[in-house]
Amino acid sequence: MTARAYTPGLKVSARTRHRVRRILPIAGDVLVQAGDAVQARQAVAHAFMPGDVTPINMANLLSMPPTDVPDCMLKKEGDRIDVGDVLARTPGIFGLFRSEHTSTVSGTLESISAVTGQVIVRGEPLGVEVRAYLAGRVAEIVPNEGCVIEADAAFVQGIFGIGGEAFGPIRRAAADHADPLTEDRITPDMEGAVIVGGARMTEAAIERARAVGASAIVSGGIDDADIRAFLGYDLGVAITGSENVGLTLIITEGFGDIAMAQRTFDLLASLEGREAAVNGATQIRAGVMRPEIVVPLPDDAAGETAGTSDAGFLETGAPVRIIRDPHFGRIGAVGALPAELHVLESGSKARVLEVRLDSGESVIIPRANVELIEQ
């Protein structure tokens, strides 16, 4: 048995070749070509989704059997309908006492049913647009669907986020990685910015960031009660990204009073003033999706481009973060990887590892309770 174990980790990279797939939900037109330089907010593909559908129970409205509905229709399937158009009219008695139905919606008449007496009008097509998100070059075109964009970028994966894609310059609002992000650190000139704090962000700080019109707020941790107050409901499962809360929120470490990892903080602080693209969308199921902060770097900047693996092997000396109590949030290096099972305090048997904490102390932790810190 080799002393290697596969363990997921969150990526924090000062420079990496980053690729993003920008795909439409349905087939449409791609607006760029391979090799084009694109800006984050630029549209790269668009499409029209079939419009909303309005069913009209014509048989009921005109008090007639469903089988008579087709003969009373003044519009045929495929006809354009505007608000105020008369859709159907009954023949009445000797041409008198006719009743009719005037459309309250516009669109196209899709179907007329002689079985149910129902008429269906489809509304105007709905436009959908996909933006570049990452400022860079178009590396590949996916015909009728979208494209792949590539750029050298600094890349930080968070552990959990709220809200979708947002853009803005990075603004530091904490003295160091263990500095809580409180209300007084948020100033009006942070409008449109991606605010970076250190330790736990408070509810008051989030509210203030929203009030000044910040794009996003990033910090090490958050208290469960604060996120509940911010959202107005309790989160049941970690599938987020579609919240419409006026601000994208990302935490890098976890829930509770927890400081941002030093390396993550130092990297983000070094990028102050640069334009970032962030996405709070998180999906923790099979096919996991974590929130991210991407800061495109100029092509000519010097520096190594790191690999893009998002998981690795536990090896002696590898930097790890403990991700469960009783040592939650502590950082250290793998000291030893004993092969045999170890009996935990809970009574369970599990494979463990020894972690040498930064303080010099050594602790035994189940392998499932650490994550690699990606270089």
Partner: protein
């Protein structure tokens, strides 16, 4: 499959492709009896960068072949068939829940009648039911269409009307679905399968409406008359379409389908299959539960009637936060015997949600997780009881004798007093450090009454055996009885309520290894050792107001089988009153290490 001669089968290989792990088991005929001999597992490889499920299957089988010392894969990476000497297997079968399993939407005319029957058919086939559309579901037509558009089901089951009944309402359902043009999960090339299992007279009219972009299959009505369900044809059609459409689009399944000797089944469908088989063969009532990270499945067979429910957001990792939200922190903490800080626990729950693979290291964390599990199981069982009912909407002739009876249609058929066997599976139950904890979790959450046998699925083998039951029922039953279940023991529990400390029942236990007698007071629990394979006769004399199945205050005698835990006597009453009792119960069953109880 016709080409398999059951009498010649010696070696069976089975895999279950879960969303994270692919598990392989090897079954061999030893001394004329089928036994599960070896197992292996490997990460599932449906997602990028592998995107081929067979890689994970081969990895899991490779581990099995190494442990078994039997070559199962040839040089071309194919499973060797048939078995000869110490190579290969005679039957290869598989189940799958990878990629989120089978997700369906169902529709029916009346929510409590045909729509509910359709839901039962879909759940029974192993699907996750995303929504139920019905003419009377209180949503307006445009809201229903909007909902259908937003969901991305793998397939839709439409029912409605008894044969010869309404056609208009059924066609109206089809008219909601057709223009909604729901986008399937597997991209624009996929034609969405729709199964129609409603009023036969409406079938041609439905076919006129559901045309472009859909693949319509018409089967027999699942509710031909109000008094009877006929779920078989719809369930079979779901399985066929699951293979033809859903599986065929999942990466690597085209290959896997060709390898197997029986159709690949959705995992929960297979679990249901084996429980139904066992209940039928032994003539007993069974409840099975599988508690996972995201969902909890409950299966029951009472008087031959099978039901399955999926509680989509009750689970121990991905959905743990939802369990806390639904049950309430107070309800969870009532099961905890050591002091804990609620605010910190809330943060811990969220941390488990975002890092779902972590395991409890401290005793406090374990006690808390097991408390959450009790509530998740309790809520899932409540949902199951509400769903597993007699058919609703059935007119019954009432006689004078029924005057004082409150029975009506739509009553739950789940009867804890009639329950014979309660089977547990899923990480928190099967990996609990002590089997006593598993037994206690089951008793606390399900509240069995009278005499009930408790067991756990040793290595989550039920899915494999469910498919095997289709091709080789004898092998399936033999392995189920010998290797799949680990018997925990039996519980004898009094139904009824009384004041703590008041007399509840007297008992006498006689067996080869155990002789005991005594009196139990309300609130008491007692554990007697009764090992695997040992039996004892238990005689109970309940006090007035307490029932063991023969009626309040009436004596009962039963033979019970032992297990790894033993015989548990439970005088806490039903429904269970939790407040104030937990510490005593933890002590009585020595659930946690000494020192954890004040």
């Amino acid at each position: 499959m016709s080409r398999i001669d059951p009498d010649r089968v010696q070696v069976i290989l089975a895999t279950d492709c879960g969303s994270t792990t692919t598990k392989a088991i090897l079954i061999q005929k030893i001394d004329g009896v089928f036994r599960q001999t070896h197992r292996g597992e490997a990460p599932t490889t449906v997602e990028e960068p592998f995107a081929d499920v067979t890689m994970g299957v081969l990895n899991a089988v490779t581990e099995t072949q190494e442990l078994a010392g039997r070559r199962l894969i040839d040089a071309d990476g194919r499973i060797i068939q048939p078995a000869s000497g110490d190579e290969g297997c005679d039957i290869y079968i598989s189940t799958s829940s990878a990629g989120g399993g089978l997700q369906m939407m169902v529709a029916g005319v009346i929510r409590q009648m045909t729509a509910e029957s359709a839901k039962r058919a879909a759940l029974g086939a192993g699907a996750i039911v995303m929504d139920v559309i019905a003419a009377n579901d209180k949503r307006r037509p445009h809201e229903q269409i909007q909902r259908i558009r937003e969901l991305r089901p793998d397939m839709i089951l439409v029912s409605g009307g008894v044969d010869g009944g309404t056609t208009t309402h059924v066609v109206r359902l089809a008219e909601l679905i057709a223009p909604a043009k729901p986008r399937p999960r597997f991209g624009s090339e996929y034609t969405l399968p729709i199964i129609y299992a409603g009023n036969a007279d409406a079938a041609p009219l439905v076919a006129d409406v559901i045309t472009d972009g859909f693949d319509l299959t018409v089967v027999d009505n699942l509710r031909p008359v109000l008094e009877r369900e006929n779920l078989g044809p719809a369930r079979d059609a779901i399985h066929d379409l699951f293979l033809e459409h859903v599986m065929a689009h999942a990466p690597g399944y085209d290959k896997l389908i060709q390898w197997t000797d029986a159709p690949i089944m959705p995992t929960p469908g297979a679990v249901g299959n084996i429980l139904e088989t066992i209940a039928r063969e032994r003539g007993i009532n069974v409840v099975g539960v599988d508690i996972g990270g995201a969902t909890t499945d409950v299966f029951s067979v009472f008087d031959g009637v099978f039901n399955r429910t999926v509680s989509a957001n009750l689970g121990m990792s991905y959905s743990i936060s939802n369990v806390c939200a639904e049950a309430g922190m107070d309800n969870i903490l009532r099961w905890v015997h050591i002091p804990m800080d609620a605010r910190e626990l809330r943060n811990r729950v969220k941390n488990k949600m975002i890092r779902p693979t972590t395991i409890p290291q401290s005793l406090e964390a374990l006690v808390f997780e097991q408390a959450v599990a009790r509530e998740a199981l309790r809520l899932a069982y409540l949902q199951h009881k509400e769903f597993a009912t007699t058919l609703k909407g059935v007119q019954r002739q009432r006689t004078v004798g029924d005057t004082f009876s409150q029975e009506s249609s739509g009553e739950t058929i789940v009867d804890n007093m009639a329950l014979n066997l309660l089977v547990a599976s899923g990480g928190v139950l099967s990996h609990a450090p002590s089997m006593r904890q598993t037994a206690m979790l089951l008793i606390d959450a399900f509240e069995p009454e009278g005499f009930t046998t408790l067991a756990k699925d040793s290595i989550f083998m039920m899915p494999h055996l469910g498919v095997l039951a289709e091709v080789h029922p004898q092998a399936s039953v033999e392995v189920f009885e010998r290797d799949c279940l680990i018997h925990l023991g039996a519980v004898a529990a009094a139904a009824g309520s009384g004041k703590p400390g008041q007399a509840c029942f007297r008992y006498q236990v006689r067996g080869d290894t155990l002789e005991a007698s005594g009196e139990m007071r309300v609130g008491d629990m007692k554990l007697y050792p009764l090992g695997l394979g040992e039996t004892a006769r238990v005689a109970i004399q309940p006090e007035r107001g307490f029932d063991f199945g023969a009626g309040p205050g009436r004596a009962v005698e039963r033979d019970v089988e032992g297990g790894t835990v033993g015989l548990i006597l439970d005088a806490r009453g039903r429904p269970l009153q939790v407040e104030g009792g937990v510490e005593g119960w933890v002590r009585a069953l020595e659930l946690y290490p000494e020192g954890s109880v004040a």
